[in-house]
């Protein structure tokens, strides 16, 4: 592997990311499965780094999952997005930041389609006016929240309490990145680093002291496939694709997986559990899995936030081996406690996968 070759490509895909004043729209999946990730994104960007990030309670889903599950027409998805633009205009913002990759892809694709077919934009403006009596401006910038963290990665590194380094050996952690398909596969120039060697996540990893591991199926989809996961009958597709990735990364012994799409960490986490139940196989050390984290969780760990505040307890793959490697102290007894130390019982344990 020739690192300079990648750097050359990265330099061709340097996306402009505004450094302040963002209008934030949330992700359905991230809120449901990684709510603390969004919470910490806001905390880091707004409170720690003092940037202006605005969220209106009136924004909704972008409809992306319904759209990519083919249950709503294209114009419906476009009009829902136009309504979000309208809320942004109302709030006086021009830089849109999405938490979800499907949304990011959706917004990007819609703006590109309107650029190519202006008559469609006109029609959507009519739809939105008729339905909601609303008008909108198109955003000047659309960024994914991982773009923002990429942009702020060095500021985060300056405030870091921990590095992505094995605290006993001093060796950098071996980290696999997984980029959501809709981040840049459709429009390579809309993603930091392009589609083939995106550096939005690898840039964070390197900035925080880790070592990025490339493996053959790095670019392969996690297997979500919308209807291929949402319908129970199709989940064989979904788990088989994740399985393919794990088989490919296994020889590289990664310490963790970092993701930027909200769905991918869920699938890369839960399918390890399913694979272990169905085949007895685990991919981490000593019967553990490989933790699949969101970039917010990883940023949070580096900045020294409590792992249980970050929500690492609601991953099926236990984060403890990773925390031990990084030298992060945690209290096992507090892992599953509610607010104010409230006892809310504990989850059951998987048959095969070791969880703590």
């Amino acid at each position: 592997m020739i690192y300079q070759g990648k750097q050359k490509i990265w330099s061709d895909y340097q996306k402009e990311i505004p450094d302040n004043h963002w209008f934030y729209v949330r992700s359905c999946i991230r809120q449901s499965f990684f709510p603390a990730s969004e919470g910490h994104f806001v905390k880091i960007v707004r409170d720690l780094l003092g940037k202006d990030l605005y969220e209106t309670p009136h924004h909704t889903t972008c409809g992306g999952i319904a759209y990519h599950s083919d249950t709503i027409p294209q114009e419906t998805a476009m009009t829902i997005v136009a309504r979000q633009f309208s809320l942004m205009k109302e709030a006086g913002y021009k830089n849109l930041v999405t938490s979800c990759i499907t949304s990011f892809g959706n917004y990007t694709e819609i703006l590109e389609t309107w650029r190519e077919f202006p008559e469609l934009e006109t029609r959507i403006r009519e739809h939105l006016w008729k339905a909601c009596r609303r008008e909108f401006d198109k955003p000047e910038y659309v960024a994914h929240a991982s773009d923002v963290v990429y942009k702020l990665r060095n500021e985060i590194a300056e405030k870091a309490k921990f590095r992505l380094v094995n605290h006993e050996t001093g060796e950098p952690l071996r980290i696999v990145e997984h980029i959501g398909c809709h981040y840049s596969k459709m429009f390579p120039h809309k993603g930091v680093g392009g589609a083939e060697y995106p550096c939005v996540l690898s840039g964070m990893v390197e900035s925080w002291g880790g070592k990025v591991i490339d493996y053959p199926e790095r670019r392969h989809c996690c297997g979500f496939g919308f209807r291929q996961y949402l319908v129970k009958a199709n989940r064989g597709y979904s788990v088989s694709n994740t399985h393919k990735k794990f088989e490919s990364m296994e020889p590289f012994h990664p310490d963790l997986i970092i993701t930027n799409c909200p769905g991918c960490p869920y699938f890369l986490d839960r399918w390890q559990y399913v694979i272990s139940e169905q085949t007895g196989k685990t991919y981490g050390q000593n019967g553990h899995g490989i933790p699949a984290l969101t970039y917010e969780e990883l940023a949070g760990l580096v900045l020294g936030y409590d792992p249980w505040d970050l929500g690492l307890q609601i991953h099926q793959v236990g984060p403890e081996p990773l925390l031990d490697k990084m030298g992060i102290a945690y209290d096992p007894a507090r892992k599953y406690l509610g607010l104010d130390e409230k006892d809310i019982m504990k989850p059951g344990l998987p048959t095969v996968l070791k969880c703590c």
Binding site: G39, D70, I80, F117, H127, G225, V231, Y237, P347
Partner: protein, 232 residues
């Protein structure tokens, strides 16, 4: 040119997704669906560019068009700027509109998808939400998520979410006025009509298969016949 092909040409995703196909197979080579299902996106594009109405109709009624996961990996690699995934979206849209989706097992899954997702969007303002995420339908979400679902209020509160409450934050309650706007958008842009169409054809199919709507919903959600995967 035939009627179905003309219909496809009206779809913007089709306009963007099919220029001319050179049959090189870069799409199939890395397609997550092609690796496991009996699926070859190259052949789909080639079939359509032949403009053979009978072949297009057969596609619209087939399982084939429902195997794609819309990951759009194919878009990156095509040397002719096609996007098989975009063409698939146009085909599925037409199949839904004409009721052809009920002819195939994978197509019939549009019913549970339409019901569940649009319920969430219109009633909650989310595509996916813990309050409608049923563990029995998602055993893969694991014992940890079973626990989360059993203690929703506590866990989400512990993780700093604003679960079901007013104001901003994760999993906040989306105000009724905003849900009303979503409904108005659905009515205006054809989504409501689409939901009704899918419902109409699905219920007719349920009757034909001798099932109640609920049985049909459950069956289409869970049943997977042999023969979809390549090794079968």
């Amino acid at each position: 040119m035939g009627k179905l092909y003309d219909e496809l040409c009206k779809d913007y995703r089709f306009k963007e997704g099919l220029h001319t196909c050179i049959n090189c197979g870069t799409c199939t080579a890395i397609c997550p669906a092609a690796e496991f299902y009996k699926y070859d996106p190259r052949k789909i594009l080639d079939t359509i560019q032949r403009k053979d109405e009978a072949a297009i109709e057969a596609l619209l009624k087939s399982d084939t068009i429902w195997y794609c996961g819309e990951c759009m990996s194919c878009v990156t690699r095509c040397p002719r700027k096609n996007g098989a995934g975009l063409v698939i979206m146009a085909l599925r849209n037409l199949s839904a509109k004409l009721g052809y989706f009920t002819y195939s097992e994978k197509g019939r899954q549009l019913y549970p998808l339409t019901k569940a997702l649009n319920y969430n969007v219109l009633n909650l303002g989310y595509c996916v939400h813990p309050s409608t995420f049923v563990f029995e339908d998602h055993p893969e979400s694991g014992p940890v998520f079973k626990w989360v679902l059993e203690h929703k209020e506590d866990v989400y509160a512990r993780l700093g979410a604003n679960f079901g409450k007013e104001g901003p934050g994760a999993l906040r309650k989306i105000p009724q006025e905003d849900l009303d706007e979503l409904k108005a958008i659905y009515d205006e842009t054809g989504a409501t009509e689409r939901i009704e169409t899918v419902e109409k054809y699905s219920l007719a199919k349920a009757e034909e298969m001798g099932m109640t709507p609920d049985e049909y919903l459950k069956y289409t959600f869970t049943h997977c016949s042999k023969g979809h995967f390549n090794n079968e």
